[in-house]
Amino acid sequence: MAFDLTLLTGSGFWNPFFWLISIVVALILIYIIYAFGEKGYKRGTQQVKPFISGNPEPSKAGVHVRAGNLYWGYMDALKVYYAGLVPIHSGILTDYLLWLFSVAAILFVLVVLL
């Protein structure tokens, strides 16, 4: 069997080879830009220390943006949605069983009675 890279989707196709070429081109461009960079950079010297308007550098742990601080805008925009969704996930076993029976009842009506 030939190792054909092209995936036929019925109404189109996909060939990862073109994506690979794009990645290679992008990497070459990145390298060219990198090669134009500052040659005098010295690792482990004062050069690498951040300058924050003369203020002392905060601790490493203090500057890391933690997971809880990400996507606050998304969460705020959808707080009504989450206010309804999160409480359903109560963690209570009897609630889980209630959902099981409820879905069974709905399907019973849909499939058996209608």
Binding site: T9, P16, L20, A61, V63, A67, L70, W99, V112
Partner: protein
């Protein structure tokens, strides 16, 4: 001689080897930890090799019928049985073999990883006993052609899974999660048993092919169908029956979580097998197709939106597992909804089924990898809390690369495997209903957003003082993750090869009820 034995009894060996391995583990494991490791690894390797052999046989020779206790393994209907296949029969068609392959590959990688990843645990004799029992049960579920036998294997998987979820008894919450999983699985098992009882009462048979041939789709059959769909949708974690998944997935050891993904997929296989092979065109395929599609859409949307705000890395991944199950339900559901419309089936329905099935194997690979990377991180830093993580990319470079591969694959970013299966689903589902395809694409974008957050939280930023001495994961864990990562890339670069050689035969076997029945009943 040995070759003949292997070739004739492969399906039996497929469950006998891990079963024997499981029961001997508590005895052999007492010799020494090294012997236990060799024994467990050897058992899993042999099991995987048998599974691969079986897959090869099925894909080259056709459906493998194995009758337990018969004079010859292929004698499905004894002359004095009145035309009824009375014995337990394994019927491994390409669909079953496809699932066997998933269990073999993921099981092997997980056990390799586990040799280092779980070595700090106590009671490892019991851990590996339950693990091998879980492997046995899943292989049995996807190989059997007998309804009651399927129920027995699903019960074994539930018991073994519940024990493994609760294995970290020092964490009370793990025991609670295990109990919840056990209770909800038991209820699902009762539903399934009741459904099987209804079918047995009507058709006087337990063999899937026999019942399929006699199927009338009476009101009782409809009740049995509802009970089966609900039980298996719950076991595969479809919304709104998914509530157990974040609890069980997040609190189980990471190796077990990776296997729970495969267990869920075996339940998904059961759902597809019963709908397509047991009922096929006798059922109202439009209604049931839409039921599966709606379950899929709910799973995709609610799974991903619940994942985004999570701060426990494994709980977050558990919700993503729910979301990804939605894609499989959507693809196969669309195929079912047009099962009776040959033109639509040929145009996009069959490709939708292919996409759904391709996504099953892809999901097993990348979700397994992601849970293993999460396990490697937890193994080194001892917390699952994303708020406490950061800067680990400096010290765990290989784990970071594996995580990136898994994350990009689950988000459907080319050229990884998740993109290939999602593309098949998008394009075929779009022809069925454009809105469903758009929802699927939006869910992929949200998935990417979620994993960008996880990647940043775990690996980016300066090295945190508390993790300054963290080292890379042990070699065995890296090898286990590496094999899965290589497969993800390979499946992404050669998707058509995978579709042609593995997925398309499985999809044909799934929808072609007649060939399944004739494999058992033949000239009966």
């Amino acid at each position: 001689m040995i070759t003949d034995f292997l070739l004739h009894h492969t399906p039996a060996l497929l469950v006998a080897v891990p079963l024997l391995g499981a029961f001997l583990t508590p005895i052999i494991g007492r010799i020494s930890p090294i012997v236990r490791k060799i024994w467990v690894m050897g058992t899993m390797t042999l099991t995987s090799a048998i599974a691969v052999l079986l897959v090869y046989l099925v894909y080259t020779r056709g459906t493998f019928v194995y009758v337990f206790g018969a004079l010859t393994p292929g004698l499905a209907i004894p002359p004095d049985s009145g035309g009824i296949p009375i014995r337990i029969i394994f019927t491994v068609d390409p669909m079953g073999a496809f699932m066997d392959l998933i269990v073999a590959v993921v099981g092997f990688c997980v056990i390799l990883y586990s040799l280092s990843g779980d070595e700090k645990r106590t009671g490892l004799h019991y851990f590996y006993t339950l693990f091998l029992l879980l492997i046995t049960s899943v292989l049995g579920m996807v190989s059997t052609g007998d309804l009651f036998n399927f129920f027995v294997f699903i019960e074994i998987s539930s018991l073994a899974s519940a024990g493994l979820v609760a294995f970290s008894v020092e964490q009370g919450r793990a025991v609670e999660a295990g109990l919840k999983y056990f209770m909800i699985s038991t209820m699902g098992g009762i539903f399934l048993l009741f459904a099987i009882g209804i079918l047995y009462g009507q058709y006087n048979a337990l063999n899937i092919a026999m019942i399929a041939e006699r199927m009338q789709f009476t009101s009782l059959d409809k009740i049995a169908l509802v009970l089966m769909v609900v039980a298996l949708a719950m076991k595969c974690g479809a919304v709104p029956l998914h509530f157990w998944t974040p609890d069980a997935y997040s609190l189980a050891p990471s190796t077990i979580t990776a296997m729970l993904v495969v267990v869920s997929q075996a339940s998904l296989y059961g759902l597809f097998r019963f709908v397509f092979t047991l009922y096929n065109l006798t059922l109202n395929y439009v209604t049931i197709g839409w039921v599966i599609i709606i379950l899929g859409v709910l799973s995709m949307v609610i799974g991903v939106t619940m994942a985004i705000p999570q701060k426990d890395v494994k709980r977050l991944m558990a919700y993503h597992a729910v979301s990804q199950t939605g894609y499989m339900l959507l693809g196969v559901g669309v195929g079912l909804a047009v099962l009776g419309n040959q033109a639509a089936l040929d145009t996009y329905g069959f490709i939708a089924i292919e996409g759904g099935l391709f996504h099953i194997i892809n999901h097993a690979l990348y979700k397994g990898l992601l849970f293993l990377t999460a396990g490697a991180i937890i193994y080194r830093i001892g917390t699952r809390d994303l708020n406490k993580m950061g800067g680990l990319g400096h010290s765990m470079k290989y784990t970071m690369i594996f995580f990136m591969i898994g994350a990009l694959a689950i988000a459907g970013i080319p050229p990884f495997n998740g993109f290939a299966s999602k593309l098949l689903i998008y394009e075929s589902v779009y022809l069925f209903n454009p809105l469903l395809a758009i929802i699927a694409m939006v869910v992929s974008i949200l998935t990417l957003a979620s994993f960008v957050k996880v990647f940043h939280s775990i690996f980016m930023g300066p090295t945190l003082p508390e993790y300054s001495k963290v080292r890379e994961a042990p070699p065995a864990m890296l090898i286990g993750m590496g094999i899965l990562a290589v497969l993800i890339i390979a499946f992404g670069f050669f998707p058509q090869l995978v579709v042609d050689s593995l997925v398309a035969p499985a999809a044909h076997a799934l929808i072609n009820q007649g060939s399944y029945i004739s494999a058992i009943l033949g000239g009966a």
